[in-house]
Amino acid sequence: MNRILAISMIVVVCTFMVSYFWVSGMQNQQDHTPLAKTTNVESNQTTSTSDPPVELLDADSAKELLLKSIREKSSEYRMLSRARIRRESRIETVYIQNTTEPNAPYFLGTMTISKNAENSTVAFAIDRVTQSIYIFANSQWHNQKDWILY
């Protein structure tokens, strides 16, 4: 191995280690920040770190929130999926995965939407803290604000 390759290897390994410690440091910092503070900073409210943390959504509340949000959002048309579901669609079932991990930031799940007896599955994620809902459609995630409706 020549000098260029050897030096580059050392540089790369060191930089990788630095980035690793930087990322883990950032994550530790986030872990120690109370959830309440994070939420309230977003809504421009002042709070002390002693505020009780926001109660995390359980699976049933998440399901309810998702269904409510979809119904509100899709007054005219149902939400987009690859299958282009239209107004006569109706949500059949909602599956929430990942509920065994209380600290996971998102509820991940799928829901089956039926249209004229044809089922279509759409993926979604619910942010536990901000309670934002994301729908996977057109190869990317959309949050409630930018759901594309058909």
Binding site: L5, V12, V13, F136
Partner: protein, 229 residues
């Protein structure tokens, strides 16, 4: 690009397609750097996104791999070989990125890849193959063995391009209607197979061409000598 030198038209089309697709992959990867939204890939990974080693490996891998794809293209164009200094610089860049970043980080992520064991093994084989072919290419040029260097580097870049063929297979199989995980696993192995077959075809084609050129050069030399006598 060194695809099929005997068929320049096909070679030109493949060159343009390769560069364009590599560029598209690089552009699509930007979403991981600029978007605050959870991408589908991250959402799929669940709690893995919390792992510092995985997240570092992921970002290093996509950055290095995209640069490799783009840096590798001019190295494979025979007309660019006349710019020796550029070839040397890009060559070193490619070696460093593949050997120390892209392939090792790919191997870090392979065990937790989508698709279970078949997916993990597929990515591991690609990672090891990429590293091994690149290392051999480097060793060959250190010994000033040009022909083995070209052959190994064709194999290496072909494995790098499995990132492109992987996505093409995924899209194709999606439209066939294959289930997501099966599609993913099949795409990994098909892209690996395509890379191996394409590289060997290119090397064979290149060697045949070289032999033909050599033979015709000998023939010319003999004829010229015959005329001069």
């Amino acid at each position: 690009m060194i695809f099929f030198r005997s068929n320049r038209f096909l070679s030109a089309i493949l060159t343009v397609a390769t560069i364009w697709l590599s560029w598209s992959i690089a552009m699509n990867s930007l979403i991981y750097f600029q978007s605050a939204k959870p991408t589908a890939f991250f959402a799929e990974k669940g709690s893995l996104v919390e792992s510092p080693i995985w997240i570092c490996a992921f970002y290093w891998h996509i950055t290095a791999s995209c640069i490799c794809l783009l840096a590798g293209a001019p190295l494979m164009i025979p007309a660019m070989l006349r710019y020796r200094q550029l070839h040397r610089i890009l060559g070193y860049l490619y070696f460093v990125l593949v050997l120390w970043i892209a392939a090792p980080t790919g191997l870090i992520m392979a065990p937790v890849a989508k698709g279970g064991l078949p997916g993990a093994v597929g990515f591991a084989v690609i990672g090891i193959g990429w590293w091994w072919t690149t290392w051999n290419g480097y060793q060959a040029i250190r010994k000033k063995e040009i022909k083995p260097h070209i052959n190994w580097m064709i194999r290496s870049y072909s494995i790098a391009l499995s990132a492109v063929t992987f996505r093409l297979f995924q899209i194709g199989l999606f439209y066939v209607g294959l289930e997501d995980t099966t599609n993913y696993i099949l795409s990994i192995w098909l892209s690996l197979g395509t890379s191996v077959v394409m590289s060997e075809l290119c090397i064979r084609n290149l060697n045949q061409k070289t032999k033909f050129e050599l033979r015709s050069n000998i023939h010319k030399t003999v004829s010229i000598e015959g005329v001069s006598r």
